[in-house]
Symmetry: C2
Subunit: 409 residues, 2 copies
Amino acid sequence: MPVKLRSPDPTHLLSVPGLRLGVASAGIKKPGRRDLTLLDVAAGAQVAAVFTQNRFCAAPVTLCKEHLARKGGIRALVINTGNANAGTGADGLARAQQTCEAAAGLLGCAPEQVLPFSTGVILEPLPAEKIVAALPAAQLDLREDNWHAAAHAIMTTDTVAKAVSRRVELGGRSVTITGMAKGSGMIHPNMATMLAFVATDAAIAPSLMQGLVREVADVSFNCVTVDGDTSTNDSFVLIATGQAGNAEVADAGGADYAALKETLAAVAIELAQAMARDGEGATKFMTITVESGRDRAECKQIAYAIARSPLVKTAFFASDPNLGRILAAIGYAGVMDLDVTRIKVWLGDVLVAENGGRAASYSEAAGAAVMQEAEITVRVALDRGAASATVWTCDFSYDYVKINAEYRT
Amino acid sequence: MPVKLRSPDPTHLLSVPGLRLGVASAGIKKPGRRDLTLLDVAAGAQVAAVFTQNRFCAAPVTLCKEHLARKGGIRALVINTGNANAGTGADGLARAQQTCEAAAGLLGCAPEQVLPFSTGVILEPLPAEKIVAALPAAQLDLREDNWHAAAHAIMTTDTVAKAVSRRVELGGRSVTITGMAKGSGMIHPNMATMLAFVATDAAIAPSLMQGLVREVADVSFNCVTVDGDTSTNDSFVLIATGQAGNAEVADAGGADYAALKETLAAVAIELAQAMARDGEGATKFMTITVESGRDRAECKQIAYAIARSPLVKTAFFASDPNLGRILAAIGYAGVMDLDVTRIKVWLGDVLVAENGGRAASYSEAAGAAVMQEAEITVRVALDRGAASATVWTCDFSYDYVKINAEYRT
């Protein structure tokens, strides 16, 4: 059961002029399931992306990086579920390339102008021939108003599709941003078993794209964890078709850049949080904020230690304010010169710990009341600086074990 | 159900001359349970220890360090379960001190000659008065041949007591080593919610004790993980009573030191493995060996990434050779210059992966057969050096979630 997360209302998803989406059934893992998505990107669009830092990165990730490096313009994205094409060596690269060639043939572009994405089981050969066979059906389905179907087609263990739209004014012009993402397990930054695609019709200078996608990832997808496992396939792609008619955003210090970045970040944060809300087996959505630290890195390190701890996560599943586990996680996060007597910890609005121990004002009843909620914030103040960081996660339930024990059956 | 682990046969546990153990019921968490253990150490014994690196270390850990630093000789250990006396601030220190004073009064030594140990729930005040009241009963129970009862009395979520004895010849004299440990959750090195006490009657130079306890910990307790959570209370204590009549071991380069260290390590490794075999909810015992690495640190880093991965652990619980998850864990371990095309991975004796992908010789049936076993070895060869490291862990089951969700009920 996702935590306070509903399937997006199709009528709330806005088309992005210059981007068409089509889906089809390739029968990669299960017959009949819509598991193939084709994105047709109009000529002249800017595309930038960030990828997993996993050393066993998947074949499609390697190809994406090569194709983007050529700077010849990206015209299509091919996304499949059911098979990650990871841990597949040279053969995996050849199969991913085969799908690029097929899409290029259909759309009349070069194979290097196609980006491939795969998600699913690792270490099994990609049935590229099934993808090639189904691509014409996906092409026939191409429409600008097809985000809802595409958001469903990229799901794996997700229980709810994840898509969101926003508008922002840039120099008097209304610009659209629509994004979709998948991911609910093996989620930990840099990045997650997550694929995220965010498109805008804003015109933006090519030189700003890579910095923008990285800045947006750092405050969104790189702040979410489900189980601490970083996937082989994670990709976050930003597409800017430039068809909104706004004056090109060309100054990273200007108001238009800031407004665009803020709205892109809002879309990306909503998608990132949706992944934690839909985390495998999740019954609770947790926001972990660490503040008054020396720098953002140490705040993030402590926030992740709490968010990753199986003991903390099972306590939240049980709605048990066993808060000593939070202190233990702060203590082992690896910030070796922490003065624990200065630290304060809140559960929701309830002060839990101070002076190295339980707060005098704390009562088990107050802690237990917060624990009953479906959305809970843990706030930690380090009292040694002005930096802060926030991480989103979910609890750890029987169903997490069940979903991951039975994943391939 | 512990994995291939039985309660120790009381007749196999050897007394260590110079050390007496007594247990009693203090009623700390549950009435009637034997939850208090007193160790009476003969004058002249050498005692050294290593402790958790958690910044929120418990009050007894702080006191132990202070008392050991005084070098006035240790005469007693007081060990309670049911309450960790961690996250308890200045009040926790005072309560731990109170138990030291009570034991010192009974045994006729100084409070600084007493080491306190606590394990159990964090963030709740230690009922020191219950311990003080029960110490006389523990004193009455003091016997050299009481290891079996003591190994039971220090258990928390353990399902099986953990104790082991060995003998070794030092310069023609037979020396005894007996150790006991507790721990089955919140287990990750430096160190774990583990308490381990190993005693020997060997005579050893005081100057060698701290190095010896650290060397032994590094190859045993610091190589085990259950859930990646490092506790606030972990302690490993080595007691050498010096009553065996051997010539004092005084040369860290000599044969006697090597023989003693090897046998101590064998005892400590058996206790450390027992903790993983008895890991909360464990159904499988896993040995992760990473070899041909550049240094031991990178081997250990990769071994721990595999051993900590909830996705790997749930796959083992399901007996599912979903081995891509092992590759993914290797890839995100943080060794950034890994050449994954050189890596080989074996499951038991079955070669699983090579050349960046699945081994040509691998069959799902062969992998599935290994997965049916209760004890499984994962071996990873990095092909870039001569270093290696081994880590022990267990799988991740429904019962892990159940045990930790219901821990305080």
